[in-house]
């Protein structure tokens, strides 16, 4: 039975990775390759971020004879990435999967259901190890012998995923318990997620100073790291081939895994079938304020965003970052005015900040999963006396209502702190909202072309939809385009001219997307 469940989990994972879950029809070869390419591109993007770190510290650590520390750091980064990526997947897959009831009603041992889901988490953790391990190995100038490679595979693809599985499952369990008891589940999930992300970002931003401090104090480091000996063991096993401590670590990880499995299996049925133990709120009768149908649709979209933590976190986090950037700029912005010591950057500083605002604009991805999120309740808006265009417009308006004011706030702060004038000032206020409009229209366009209504929890619709990934990558590409054009033609054309050219291009694309949505998009929506 376990074999059947494992096969089922793998098929589910593959269907998500290849986009096959979006349609009942078999995927064409071209589409399969396209989805696989998108997935690889996502991993390469994450890997590129980490490769910058390894590129800098690889030669320095090798020269200082700190190879063990280099791989210990890689292990810490891998574990952090696995944790950020897997905790909420663990929560939704283990305790909130919509097929838990169905599987529990079948003659299947609960531990087998649990094992099959843990297996999925293990595979995901191994996939998340790739964007760290590959650049770490690429930028390590030293040689790694056969025992080193064995240690590397054992550490990063067996031990760390196992330890991550234990920690993610337990944290996922605790978060599930906390949110099940809370009245406002979204808020709890949001706060916990932001805490995780904040911790990870704090660590990432402080990486440089931490690394400098590590190198400066490397003599006493090995001794002080004794408390987290596994890191030393992993580092030494990879660089010096010391396998014995690593095997002990493997045995300990396996034992921990079994312990966690026993603990989870004892509580799995109760946790998976719990239906919220929070205090019941009594209905107090009162007359509601009336809204127009269009306003009602927009309010409903806002409630969906607020009511689905996965949607809020993945789609709306960009809004939070835009506001955060505005506040950070207001507090620390004066320091940036002292940057003329960077002669090449100083004249372009204002333009760089406009590009940064545009990049932040395309990280807000609210429309791309919005049709998929209708899921099985798609019959509802379609049965109401509102046009398909009204329904699509509500999704667009939600995106713009949140993105544009945040971006304008950020632009205002930038204008005040960095003293924008003339054409650059116009671009500062026009380009980021234009990018937000483009991203909103593109997201809706892509979601109409690639809807996914077969999800078992909202996270799937929000995270793994092709529309989300295409919108994100195209948006990022578009935000990088002015930089690329200026890099190629900077001798002949000013940055402002590139900016206005980009604004024109965006407006044309937006007009085309708008017309498509208005005509063909509504027809596609009617036929869904």
């Amino acid at each position: 039975m376990l074999k059947v469940l494992l096969k089922n989990r793998l098929e589910a994972l593959l269907s998500v990775l290849t986009g096959a879950s979006r349609t009942k029809k078999a995927q064409s070869k071209g589409k399969l390759i396209g989805f696989a390419a998108l997935m690889i591109l996502s991993l390469v993007s994450i890997g590129t971020l980490f490769s910058r770190i390894f590129e800098v510290i690889g030669p320095a650590f090798h020269w200082a004879g700190l190879g063990w520390l280099y791989f210990a750091l890689a292990a810490v980064i891998t574990f952090g990435l696995m944790l950020v990526g897997n905790v909420f997947v663990a929560k939704s897959q283990l305790y909130e999967a919509k097929d838990n009831d169905l599987l529990l009603s079948m003659p299947i041992k609960p531990i087998h259901i649990l094992l099959s889901r843990l297996f999925l988490l293990l595979v995901l953790a191994e996939v998340l190890a790739l964007p760290v391990v590959i650049p770490a190995m690429l930028y390590w100038p030293g040689s790694v012998g056969v025992p080193g490679w064995v240690a590397l595979i054992l550490s990063f693809f067996v031990i760390l995923p196992l330890l991550n599985l234990v920690v993610s499952s337990l944290l996922g369990w605790l978060i599930h318990l906390a949110s099940a008891r809370a009245r406002n589940k979204s808020l709890i999930t949001l706060v916990i997620s932001l805490a995780f992300l904040g911790g990870y970002m704090y660590f990432s931003f402080r990486m440089n100073s931490m690394l400098t401090s590590l190198v400066e104090n490397h003599e006493g480091l090995e001794k002080s790291l004794g408390a987290v000996a596994p890191l030393v063991w992993i580092g030494k096993a990879v660089t010096q081939g010391e396998l014995l401590p690593l095997l002990l670590l493997l045995a300990a990880s396996l034992a921990l895994g079994v312990l966690a499995l026993l603990l989870l299996s004892r509580t799995f049925i109760r946790t998976a079938t719990a239906r919220g133990t929070g205090a019941k709120k009594r209905y107090v009768e009162r007359t509601a304020r009336a809204h127009s149908p269009r306003a009602a649709l927009l309010i409903q979209e806002l409630r969906r965003l607020w009511g689905l933590p996965a949607y809020l976190l993945n789609g709306g986090l960009g809004v939070f970052f835009v506001v955060l950037a505005a506040v950070a700029l207001l507090v620390k912005g004066k320091a940036l005015t002292g940057m003329p010591e960077w002669p090449y950057i100083a004249p372009l500083l204002q333009s760089i900040f406009v590009v940064a605002a545009c990049f932040m604009a395309v990280t807000i991805i609210l429309t791309a999963p919005s049709i998929s999120l209708e899921g099985k309740s798609l019959w509802l808006p379609k049965s109401l006396p509102v046009s398909s265009w009204d329904i699509l417009q509500a999704k667009l308006r939600l995106h713009l209502l949140l993105a544009v004011p945040a971006l304008l706030l950020c632009s205002t702060v930038m204008a005040l702190v960095l003293g924008y004038k003339g054409l650059t000032l116009v671009l500062l206020f026009a380009l980021p909202p234009a990018y937000a409009l483009f991203s909103a229209l593109l997201g809706l366009f892509e979601n109409l072309r690639h809807p996914n209504f077969n999800w078992v929890n909202e996270t799937q619709a929000v995270k793994s939809g092709a529309s989300v990934m295409i919108t994100m990558f195209v948006g990022m590409g578009m935000s990088a385009l002015p930089v690329l054009v200026y890099a190629l033609l900077g001798d002949y054309i000013s940055m402002e001219a590139v900016g206005f050219g980009m604004l024109g291009l965006l407006l044309v694309l937006c007009a085309l997307l708008y017309l498509w949505l208005r005509k063909k998009g509504t027809r596609i929506f009617d036929a869904l």
């Binding site: 209905y283 809204h291 899921g375 099985k376 019959w379 379609k382 049965s383």
Partner: protein
């Protein structure tokens, strides 16, 4: 109230509904019977303006559903077989959303919500998120949402599934009351006893084609509806 003429709806090569014609007059409770996959849900969804169709015409109160879908939808309500509602909303917010879309005056809305929610026994639960509702509670909420704007035509797909006996009894009363006021109801069911006692007219569909329709007496004569249904199923096998 509802006129279906030569309705044909295909999924690829398969005709889910084939040349179906029906007429439901004001004041009628019209039952729609057929085996699983016979085309009942497809017909109901086409009438509700959810599914586009290739051939035929559906008119609601004289208006064409494909030419003027919004005006048609304004006069009717649809309840699917599985009440998948907006789980991220509370019960009361969902009802107010429906009230807003159908432009029901807030005071009227409040009164109707109170009446139906109290009758169906879920008034105390309206502040709860729909995700915490049982199947039966969601079904009751969908019923209130359907009745909140007093539509002329109510389309229901298996409305008795998941309802407790008291709620099922109340629903039958609500249906009679609705038709007494001049409204019409077109609903599918597998519960033949209910159809026999409740409906003024009945239609039997098999593999997308209408095999019998008319008043209950015309269709079943002196036999039971169950016998007639089984006989027709065998005849057209």
């Amino acid at each position: 109230m509802l006129t279906i003429e030569h309705l044909t709806k295909s999924y690829g090569d398969k005709k889910a509904v084939d040349n179906l014609s029906l007429h439901i007059a004001p004041g009628e409770i019209y039952g729609f019977i057929g085996h699983n996959g016979a085309g009942k849900t497809t017909t109901l969804k086409a009438c509700a303006g959810i599914l586009p169709f290739e051939e035929g015409q559906i008119r609601i109160g004289g208006l064409d559903i494909q030419a003027d879908p919004l005006a048609c939808k304004q006069q009717m309500a649809y309840i699917p077989d599985n009440p998948d509602l907006y789980e991220f909303m509370t019960g009361i917010r969902f009802l107010n959303f429906i009230g807003d879309v159908f432009r029901v005056e807030p005071t009227v809305r409040r009164e109707r919500i109170h009446t139906y929610a109290e009758m169906l026994g879920i008034e105390g639960d309206l502040a709860q998120p729909i995700s915490a509702f049982s199947h039966g509670m969601k079904q009751k909420l969908a019923l209130i949402a359907a009745w909140i704007h007093e539509p002329k035509l109510i389309l229901m797909d298996e409305p008795f599934v998941g309802l407790d006996p008291k709620a099922a009894h109340l629903l039958k009363e609500l249906m009679h009351e609705h038709c007494r006021k001049g409204g019409a109801i077109f609903f599918s069911t597998h519960v033949l006893d209910v159809a026999e006692k409740l409906c003024d007219k009945v239609a039997i569909i098999k593999e997308g084609r209408l095999v019998a329709s008319g008043s209950m007496q015309e269709v079943k004569g002196n036999a039971s509806l169950e016998d007639v249904f089984l006989e027709l199923e065998d005849d057209h096998a």
